[in-house]
Amino acid sequence: MDTNLIWWSGVALDVAILLRGGWTGLFRKYPLFYVYICCVVVKEVIGMLAYELAPGLYAPLYWPTELATVLASYAVIIEIFRQVLKHNPGAARLAQNLLLLLFAFMLVYASSDILRAGSLSLPRAIVELARDLRYVEGALLLIMLSLFVRYRISVSSNLSGLVFGYTFWVGINIITLALWFLPGNELSVRLRTLLPLSYNVALFIWCLALWAVQPDPVQPHDNEVERDYGLLAAKTDAILARVSKGFVRTMRP
């Protein structure tokens, strides 16, 4: 009963987000995010149909569809990256280099992990791959968030809600998956409930954040900022040089 309630409320929230996205025009603004939501709806519908009509198919279908949605969720990472750093070419360049480096490193690490576990059954290998991909996603998200916070990047309420909902979902997902892989927890009912419940919370956050279109913060013209960045850097240099000299001179015995 409770599981069905969580399931149906999740689908209802998914559909509400999609409908509001189409109504407000946010679908066109954040297409990759809405494509991800569409993928989740399709996965949920397939899962429900299998559960009701062919229960024997549900278990073999669960992890492959989960893996597909984990892969689709990378589209949200790309969407966040694109949208948040749209007006911040400097931070975008920094983030791009760092993320590519981290992605390559994590992918190699995850691949070696999978190769090491070559003797595993296919379902188990898929489960581990889904978990590893989620960890890679988490690491990418952490780097991105650190840069957003460090560089005080301003975004619209829509986008900050989207980012917060996504970070909440990925963060809880990583914790749950880590606990799930502990020996003895594989069949934990609480963990099975926690995952869709946390996803519903994320959906609720997205529903609230994307209910209506919020204005983007006004961004300066790139060329003007480039000039001002130069001015700023020059002044910062002069001041800090003076601070440093003053510091040393003052403290010298």
């Binding site: 970070t167 850097a233 001041i239």
Partner: protein, 189 residues
Amino acid sequence: MIGLFPAILLGALIVALGFYFLVQGLGRRQKPAVTIDEYSRAREALDAVFVQTSAIERIFSVEDFKFIARAGKDDARRLFLHERKRLALLWLRNTQKQVAQLMDLHLRLANYALDPNPGFELELNAKYGAFVVLSNIVLLLLWAAGPFKATRTIAYTIRAAGNFCTVFSLRLERINPTRLSAGRESLVH
């Protein structure tokens, strides 16, 4: 792939940073945007700190302490030490605050630049981190040993912290001087 503890830490950090990003964004909408005035005020405040350099030098002057010590009054010496320590701590905290304010403005504006040097930005952040750590060490030394006993150690530590500003010179070399001649009142928004 990774252990339980790192995975839980990663998940918790992601949620916490996501929440912080949300709160930071909401807070920023209420605050006025960065202006050149704001930057100038920070610069003037820093200037003011170093206009008083001669007075600050007196805080750490051993001559004054020797003079008071020669007078032989314990109460006067204690009061003198207390006052000098308080002044030294106040000055250092004020300087830390001003540098942090300057760095904050720099970061808020630097992400709009078209062609920043990632190496420069990373180095700057690292050097600023070193400055924060070392200035806090100095603060601790001042608090524990007073402005006269710890000066040699403090000078050594501070000299290392002074290195962080050299990275700005590298950024300066890439600036077109013709762009520097024109400035605007409002930088962002």
